[in-house]
Symmetry: none
Subunit: 190 residues, 4 copies
Amino acid sequence: MVAAVEDKAEAILHAALELFAERGFHGTSVPSVAERAGVAAGTIYHYFASKEALVNALYKQCKGAIQAEALSNFPFDAPPREQFRVTWSRLADFALSHPKEFAFLELHHHGTYLDAESKAIETRLVALGVATIQQAQASQALKMLDPNLLLEFGNGAFIGIFRAAMAGRLPFTKETFMTAEQCVWEAIRA
Amino acid sequence: MVAAVEDKAEAILHAALELFAERGFHGTSVPSVAERAGVAAGTIYHYFASKEALVNALYKQCKGAIQAEALSNFPFDAPPREQFRVTWSRLADFALSHPKEFAFLELHHHGTYLDAESKAIETRLVALGVATIQQAQASQALKMLDPNLLLEFGNGAFIGIFRAAMAGRLPFTKETFMTAEQCVWEAIRA
Amino acid sequence: MVAAVEDKAEAILHAALELFAERGFHGTSVPSVAERAGVAAGTIYHYFASKEALVNALYKQCKGAIQAEALSNFPFDAPPREQFRVTWSRLADFALSHPKEFAFLELHHHGTYLDAESKAIETRLVALGVATIQQAQASQALKMLDPNLLLEFGNGAFIGIFRAAMAGRLPFTKETFMTAEQCVWEAIRA
Amino acid sequence: MVAAVEDKAEAILHAALELFAERGFHGTSVPSVAERAGVAAGTIYHYFASKEALVNALYKQCKGAIQAEALSNFPFDAPPREQFRVTWSRLADFALSHPKEFAFLELHHHGTYLDAESKAIETRLVALGVATIQQAQASQALKMLDPNLLLEFGNGAFIGIFRAAMAGRLPFTKETFMTAEQCVWEAIRA
DNA sequence: CATGAATGAGTTTTCATTCAT
DNA sequence: TATGAATGAAAACTCATTCAT
C-alpha cells in the first residue's frame, strides 16, 4: 500500500529527526533510528541508500518545510518594518510548532555529510534574504551596512533565543520571540 | 620532564581542539587525535582517563581562557554602554585570536558528554551576565526585559556574526564585530 | 502460461549464468540476478528453492548441454584419431557458441554448494572418457599411461586455451582450438 | 617484537591462504580468517587495510614464491628440451610442496579484486614465457605456432594435472607431473 | 612515561529469504 | 503466479580502550 510505504519512510524520518536533533549525526546509529521507528535495521536501506542519504533527505524536508512556512505569500508590497515582522513571526511559528525540525536544521547546516543539493538550498535562502535586505536598504528603512551582517545578526539572535528557550532559560512562547523581534528591528533599522 | 609532560598534554589538547572543532566529538576518533598530536594512541590515556575526560578538559580550558580574556579587570565602575562595548570587544578579540577555541566552545556546549563541572562553568557565566544586566537595568540603561532574553540575544548575534565570518560570508575582522556591537546596543538599550 | 513460466525460469537461469560466470557464486547476489532477469527477487523463489538450488539447476542444464553437444552420435566405430578429433571439435564448437556456459562450468565445478547429483554428472562423464581412452589404448592408438592422466591432460589443455582466448591472449576461433587439437594428439598418441 | 609482528601477519596470511584456496575470496569472511589465525577480527586490519589488500598481499607473496622457485637460475644456455624439463620440474616441485599456494594462485588470478600491481606480475611472467618460447622456436626446437598457444597449452595441461591430483584422481607425485611433462614436450616440439 | 599491537563490541551496510498482498 | 517490502543475521570495517613491553 502506498500509505504503508509512506508511513514507514515517514516513521524513519521522524525517528531520525529526533535522534539527529538530540545527538547529532555521528552520535546517532542507524540501528537506534530503526528501533525508534519500529522497523528492522535493514528496512532503512530500502528507503535511503545510506545514513548520509537519510540526513540529506531529512535536511531537505525540514528546510523545505521552514521555507514553505516562512516564505509563502511573502508580503512583497508591505513596508520593510512589516516584512520583517511577518518573516520573524512566521519563523517563530515554525520554531514553536516544529522545535525538533528547527533544532535539527540548526545543528546540521554545517555538516560535511550534506550533499551539494542540500547546501544549495541554504545558499539560495541566504541570497533571497540578502536581496530583500538590499531592497529595504534602498528605501532607507535599514542601516546601510553589509546586508550579510544584518542577515546573520538577525539569524544569530533568533537562534540564540530559540536555544535558550529550548534549554528552559526563556519561556518557549510566541511572546518571547516577538519581544526579541522588536529589539532586532531597533538594531537594524536605519 | 615537567615541560615534556605539559608539552605532550598540550599537544594532545591542541590536536583535539582542531579535530573536535572541525568534526565534532563523535566525528573525531581518539587515534586521529593521537596522530595529529604526534603521540601514540595509548599516550592519550596517560593524560586523560577517557575520550570524554579529554573533551571536558578541553572545554574547561577553553571556557577558562575566554573567561580570562573577557572578564579580567571588568570595568565595574564604567557606565553600562562602556561595559557592554568593552565586553563585546574582548569577546571579539578572543574570537579573532582563538577562532578554533571559540568554534569548539560553540559546537560543544550542548553535548551530553559534558560533565557537571563543565556545565557549571557555563551556568556561572550566565548568572554573572544576568547580574550585570540587571544592574544596568537598575540604572535604566537597558530595556526592562527578561535579562536572559537580552543576554541570549546578544550572545546569539555574536555567534551568528562569528559563524558567518568563519564561513567567509563576512570579513573576519574586528571591524565586523564592532559594527555589530553598535547594532546590538541599539537593540538592548533602554 | 506454461510458456510464460518457462520464460521466467529461463530468464532467471540466463541472468544467473551471466552473473555467476562473471563474479562467481558468492560474488553474485540473488537480487542482482532478479534485476538482470527483469523479475522481482521473490519470484526467483517460486522457481528455485534457494540460491544453491539455482546454481545446481544451472550447472545441470549447462553440463547437460555440453554433454548433448559433445557426445551425441559419438562415432564409436571410427578410429581413435577420428574419435578424438570429433570430440575436441564438438567441445570447441560448444565453447565458441556458448562461452558463458563453458566459463560457468569451468568456474563452478569445484564449489561446495554443488549437490550430489551435480557432482555425479561430472563423475559419469569422467568415467565415460576413461572408458573410451582405455579402448583406444587397447587398440594401441594411445600411450599406455594412466587414462586419467591423458584425460585431465587434454581437459586442462582445452581449458587453458579457452581461458586465454576469453582473455584476448589468443584468437577466439575454431582454428585456435583445432591447432591445439593436433598438439594434444601428438602428446597422447602411442 | 619484530618476531611477534611477523608471526601475526604470517599467521593471518596462512589462514587466509587456506580459506581463500578452499572457498574463494567472496566465500571467505574476514572473521573466519581471524578465527583460523587465532587473532581478533580487528587485528587483521592492523596488518592489512582491507580484505582486498589481504588477498593482494597474499597473491603477491605466492606469485613471488613460485617465481623464485621456478625461475631462479634459469638455465639460459641449456637446450630447449632441457629448459622445458627444468621449468616444468620446478613448477611441479612447487606445486607438490606448496599445494595450497598453487591452488590459491590458480583460483584467484582472474579476480576483479586484484590490483594493478598483482596483475602486472602475471603479465610479466607471461611475457617472459613468450620470449623464451620464441627463442626456442628460433632454434627450431618448438612448433612454429603462436607462442601464446604453446604457453597456455602447457600451462593448462599442468593445471589440469594438478587439479586432478588434488582431487585424488591422480597420484599427487612428482612422477605424475614428469610423465605429463614428456607428453607436453611431444605436443609442442617441432 | 610512552608505545602501539591487540582486542571485541559497535558501526554501517548487504543480502538470502519470507510473506502479505 | 508474481511482487517487493520487510526482516535479521552476518558481512566488512572502526574505534575506544587496555596492556605487555
